[in-house]
């Protein structure tokens, strides 16, 4: 019998993170899914010197970089799409405080796939022949870099290709739409690289917008792309990706996306943001109050809401989740 893995966010960060670790978040989309609230809790507990593995920079990496707790980062993309440059990340890179190793949006998940399969390397037919191959922020004097994406020979054709190093992050905090108490997950919207990440990371903590009964999982087993057998812990946290969006659940909070990015552009703004939006709550209820109940209603009135319809009948109430958390914490 599977074990109930629901625990609090505070416990999850306490148990599974440490200073200097290689920390990955999923989906690490700049506007959509990401375990942003996990990053807020990393800051609350004073974690530092992180080596961040993010498929793309989200507002979470923007915040952690702005706060100065990330020393190294690896990304395929490092801005906020139509919301512009990620100002906190920009400051960290331009000041030299954070070394940012660049790959592409295919290169990064291929490295996770390599980690997931325990491959020694992954053949690279992209990123080669460009400065993604020749320039290394982790070894800045190795130019053209021989160590980042080394050239290897395809034994079948004799052609020169590249070799991607596999990634196996110490921890992946992965945001999903729905999880059952055991860690079986359903993602609405693109998976991006959450499947590869969930198999590459040494430990996986799930951050779910809603908890569903396992009957839901048994109704749609084909949709369960992250199964409980790879999951250590499950955290229930509504609006976990805020101010980003979660298809079926809530839209992007345009005003806060801009407000947050503007704040992270300066040291003072970052300190004020942390005071108000990282240390400004103590549990789920006060977190939701902080966003504002009217705002929550507005964000929830998403044109994507119909995507959630097939699953609604299995969503557990906060009381049911709280009872399961007691069991999970004792386990």
């Amino acid at each position: 019998m599977a074990q109930i893995k629901l625990i609090s966010l505070q416990d999850a960060v306490q148990r599974y993170s440490w200073d200097g670790m290689q920390y990955a978040s999923g989906a690490a989309l700049p506007i959509g899914s990401d375990a942003i609230v996990f990053g807020r809790e990393l800051l609350r507990q004073g974690r530092r010197d992180l080596h961040a593995v993010f498929h793309c920079s989200s507002q979470q990496l923007n915040l952690l970089a702005a706060a100065g707790v990330v020393t190294k980062a690896e990304c395929g993309f490092s801005a906020l799409e139509v919301f512009g440059f990620a100002n906190g990340l920009r400051r960290a890179v331009e000041s030299g405080r954070m070394a940012l190793e660049d790959y592409s949006n295919l290169g990064l998940p291929l490295r996770l796939l390599g980690g997931a399969l325990n491959w020694p390397f992954v053949p690279a037919t992209v990123n080669i022949g460009s400065d993604l191959q020749y320039r290394s922020a982790f070894a800045p004097d190795d130019y053209p870099s021989q160590s980042k994406i080394p050239t290897v020979v395809d034994p079948f054709t004799g052609r020169q290709i590249g070799a991607f190093s596999p990634l196996k992050p110490d921890l992946a905090a992965i945001h999903v739409t729905l999880a059952d108490p055991f860690g079986n997950c359903i993602m609405l919207g693109t998976e991006w690289s959450r499947v590869e990440l969930s198999r590459a990371a040494k430990k996986v903590v799930i951050i779910a917008d809603a908890i569903v009964d396992t009957d839901c999982i048994r109704q749609y087993p084909n949709l369960v792309r992250i199964p409980d057998i790879v999951v250590e812990a499950v955290v229930h946290w509504p609006f976990a990706a805020w101010p980003q969006s979660s298809p079926g659940m809530y839209d992007v909070d345009e005003a806060h996306m801009k407000f947050m990015n503007k704040a992270l552009a300066t040291e003072d703004g970052t300190a004020a943001y942390i005071r108000d939006f990282v240390d400004g709550y103590h549990d789920v209820d006060s977190y939701l109050d902080m966003i504002g109940r009217d705002k929550l209603a507005e964000l929830s009135a998403s044109t994507t809401s119909f995507l959630l319809d097939p699953y609604r009948r299995w969503i557990l109430t906060p009381e049911q989740v709280a009872a399961l958390q007691v069991t999970g914490a004792a386990a």
């Binding site: 989309l29 498929h55 592409s104 037919t125 022949g129 693109t190 690289s193 969006s245």
Partner: protein
Amino acid sequence: MSQALDYTRQEMMAIATGREVKDGELAIFGVGLSMLAGYFAQANHAPHLRTMTEGGVYGATPVGGLPWGIECNRISTNATSFTSAIDALGFLVASGRCDVGVIGAAQVDKFGNVNTTGIWDGEIGAHYRPPKIRLPGAGGANDIACGAKRFIIMVTHEPKRFAEKVTYLSSPGYLDGGNARDRFGFVGGGPSAIITTLGILRPDPQTKEFQLDGWFPFSSIDEIKAHTGWDLKVSPDARVIAEPSATELANLRKVDETGALRKH
């Protein structure tokens, strides 16, 4: 925008880009204006275009204006498939299946190489030092540049963006020109056009150096040469490009509901 026009330079650029995309093709669009150009083509003359974003969102059309990203709710309302990055950029692009991609650029050079990583004072040098301005990075553009059968670069035509050689090569065009791409065995064919706010540049078939192929009704050869950071050659076939038709403009504005292309 110029007073005499009832469309903006950005709209002209988007429409000229959309015209490059043919019905029935498998197409991938980067975020922002390239996405508008692509979905314009679908709304205008390519109803059977098979569209995808690198976020693995297929079969969708934007609702409520320019999507905030490759995966945001504005592009997730009517999708027929949500998959993944390895599916979109790998199975469908790196495989060689994708017909055409549209990407943006902060800086582009005469061989169609693209920089979206950073701006430095002068050359970077042997030691990789932090940029003066950190840009978004390669994203999916490197993968599209390596894998799509052809790709189109959409870029605002300013001298600082049109360099003899990019400071940092994020996404490969024709590298040093000629057959340089062959050294890496890329499955994709390289950039077929650079479409700007002033005109259209296409590669010379042998040298692969980009030359002027057309100017817009509101621009001129002289203006384009003055805004290009290398000694731009003019193709003997260079001609004025037809301005947007009323239908094209209406179809573009249907896609660009929030007027992202009318702000400049």
